[in-house]
Amino acid sequence: MSAIGSLDEQVPEAVSEHRPAMSGEKSATSFDDHFIALFHARFRSLFRFLDRLSGEAELAADLAQDAFVRLHERGSLPDKPDAWLIAVAMNLFRNVKSTRARRRRLLTVWRAAFVVADPPPLPSDRVEGDAPERVRRSMARLSERDRQLLLLMAEDYRYRDIAAALELNEASVGTLLARAKRAFRAAYSAEGGTWE
């Protein structure tokens, strides 16, 4: 799936279903009520998922808000709102990553000519034993799919929403989750963590 293009194009087919037209005062009110309820139920969870995924609280807050803004602009609820929000948020995050990578490429030459600074510390100089950092490094060792699976599981998303958001077969979500947990356990141990 491409990380670019119009938003609807990026959302998996399973969640970019029909758009019932909103007509009349009653429908509009109903959407607004649902939107508010969904925001209260899912904003924090979506923020936490993005925060854990990106490691940047400020970015996660922006992306979570942007996802809800897109939903409000849409004017109607998708069949699977949770999956829709996750898919949109992940696409927004991918766009940010792509933009940053492109900017880094463009600026490298310019920066290299002007920045004189100490080189970054060698891996051996890093402070070990910092739990958040160890968990983050362990997560970084996982595949993107395993990372997303674990983070969505930790937010108690339903299997059908996980499957729709990550474009997986719902019947195998449990198996994939078990593998992701094992992979995380191995990665955490490799990073020197003790599994209790």
Binding site: I4, R52, Q65, H72, T99, K181, G193
Partner: protein, 255 residues
């Protein structure tokens, strides 16, 4: 009742309350009598508790965001303000880039002004050599050139009756797209250019670098041209000069 041991999917579904109601009772009956499966479920539950606890190490304080703030962002006034801020930011960046010494931006702007304004005589009084343009460039109304990434797509948002795209493989680094003899809108994004609102029976000239890892052309959701390391895939045939002609009215390619 005899039930097979639980597989991995069933163990996870049991943990997460995702077991189908039709099998839930029999699975629970089996767990009650099978030490091995019960042990696996318990071990999985412990593993998950540990994973969830470790994840909490990554958490930051959630922001206090009011739903009204989010809804306000969809109002036209906010969008207008954002556009205005974007334009101002672009102007500021352009100004800095123009003024900064050593950047090629100033030279590019001056060349553009010279070309558009026809100011051909440089300050030293000597005539500049004429820049060689493609034969069709006098007709060019719009176009752009971008560096393709690992995978670059040119997307025509809808079939364009009567329009033709001529593709040439070049040794240059950039994908160049020119709308000749008509009008079209170009929307660029990361690794993608979308072309729409084609009017006036436009002809498109597209230069595709041979060195680009992958360049594709899509019309209304169908891929009609693909160039990758393994070669060119399209139903359009190359002419004597090696250029491919693709009608934009009816997609040729595959999904």
């Amino acid at each position: 009742m005899s039930v097979r041991h639980l597989d991995e999917e069933q163990v996870q579904r049991l943990l997460h309350g995702e077991m189908a109601p039709s099998v839930s009772a029999s699975v629970r009956d089996h767990i009650d009598v099978c030490d091995e499966c019960r042990s696996r479920v318990d071990e999985s539950a412990r593993e998950e508790t540990t994973v969830r606890a470790l994840m909490e190490n990554l958490d930051h304080t959630p922001p206090l965001v009011d739903v009204r703030t989010v809804k306000r962002r969809t109002q036209p006034a906010f969008a207008l303000g954002r556009w205005a801020a974007g334009v101002l930011l672009l102007l500021a960046i352009g100004g800095v880039a123009y003024a900064a010494p050593g950047l090629p931006f100033r030279a590019v702007v001056e060349r553009l002004i010279t070309r558009v304004g026809g100011r051909d005589t440089p300050r030293d009084g000597q005539a500049r050599p004429e820049i060689a343009l493609p034969p069709s460039s006098r007709d060019v109304v719009q176009g752009l050139a971008v560096l393709p990434g690992d995978r670059f797509r040119i997307v025509f948002s809808s079939p364009e009756p009567g329009a033709i795209a001529t593709l040439s493989l070049t040794d240059g680094p950039q994908v160049a797209i020119r709308a000749v003899g008509g009008r079209a809108t170009f929307t660029s994004d990361v690794d993608r250019v979308t072309i729409g609102d084609v009017t006036g029976g436009s002809r498109f000239e597209i230069d595709v670098p041979r060195g680009a890892p992958r360049v594709e052309i899509w019309i209304a959701g169908r891929r009609v041209f693909s160039k990758s390391a393994s070669g060119v895939v399209t139903e359009g045939q190359p002419d004597a000069g090696g250029a491919y002609r693709l009608p934009l009215s009816s997609p040729l390619g595959r999904e």
